[in-house]
Amino acid sequence: MTDRSTIVLLRTRTFSPVLSLLSYLLAGTFFGVVLVKSEAASWYRIQEMFRFQSVHMYGLIGSAVLTGMLITWLLRKVQARALTGQTIHVQAKDPGLPRYILGGLTFGLGWGLAGVCPGPIFTLLGSGVWTMLIVLLFALVGTWLYGVLRDHLPH
């Protein structure tokens, strides 16, 4: 009985906030590398995907979902704990449909134009595509606009 709580305490103590933030930085770096090397951050690949001209992006997204599904299921099955000590819990998305359809359509229209979703905006900036600053700036304007109009939109 005491064993488990001692382990949790130990974990919480050793995993300091700084170390924790650093691990997210590292995870992000790893993901950025994957986005470039797998060509998910490529405008060319996105255009190819939306024209159904190659299996590349479909294979990429499909195998990502299957991997995520399998390992997340396993973690929940064995009631794994996070490094911070909490039991792993996946937050459920809010109910409702209009926002997912209308918001999804809007995002998709943007995705197909400059070929970037939010992750690649940051990654391409890092790899020296400076014009992504324009995309980022307007993405912030778009986010702000949603914050302003939120109460008038169907959710």
């Binding site: 590398v33 190819e48 195998s63 997340t72 995002f107 229209l109 391409l124 939109l153």
Partner: protein
């Protein structure tokens, strides 16, 4: 050896690594993998208090992990996109190369065609700003982007994420096949 560093990864290597991000972030600190929320945090940080809609009034410091993750994305781009950049052009399908020619865009090494970063062309400003505006508004309205819905949401079997992902693709197909050719004409 250098080839191993610079050559791109096939989908069956990259895909599972992307999928690993979901359990990895859950293991590090019980966090839900997603990136677009950073745009909201950035607004919450940058907007002056007097001009802040309620949507941006929350303690963004609790979400610092997400900002660190985004900073990591920039570092990753630096590492892979500058240091380990693929010297060859993307191996696109024959049909895709034909489509590019139709758009007046060339296939070059790199992740973005040179025609779409050429700021001397007014249409490039239009494409980049419109794309950003739609991405920013759409991800917040739809409650997530490719990582939050298509990867995290689908792999945790959430119905709203399926609806969102299908909508992403409908929008993307419309935009790539009709809107972009119209703009580049």
């Amino acid at each position: 050896m250098t080839n191993l560093l610079t050559s791109p990864w096939p989908w069956y290597v990259g895909g599972p690594l992307i999928g690993l991000m979901v359990p990895l972030l859950l293991l590090i600190g019980n966090k839900t993998f997603g990136i677009s929320a950073n745009l909201r945090h950035a607004c919450a940080i940058l907007l002056p208090d007097a001009a802040k809609p309620g949507f941006f009034r929350y303690d963004w410091r609790k979400e610092r992990w997400n900002l660190m993750f985004a900073a990591g994305l920039v570092l990753g781009g630096l590492l892979a996109g500058l240091v380990c950049a693929n010297p060859e052009a993307t191996h696109l399908s024959v049909q895709a190369i034909h489509s590019l020619q139709g758009l007046g865009v060339t296939l070059h090494p790199g992740l973005v065609p040179p025609e779409l970063v050429d700021l001397h062309r007014p249409v490039v400003w239009l494409i980049l700003s419109l794309s950003g505006l739609l991405v920013g508004f759409g991800t917040r309205y739809g409650g997530g982007c490719t990582s939050g819905h298509a990867i995290t949401g689908l792999s945790t079997l959430q119905f709203p994420s399926l609806v969102a992902t299908v909508s992403f693709f409908v929008g993307g197909i419309l935009s790539a096949n009709f809107l972009l050719p119209l703009l580049l004409k």
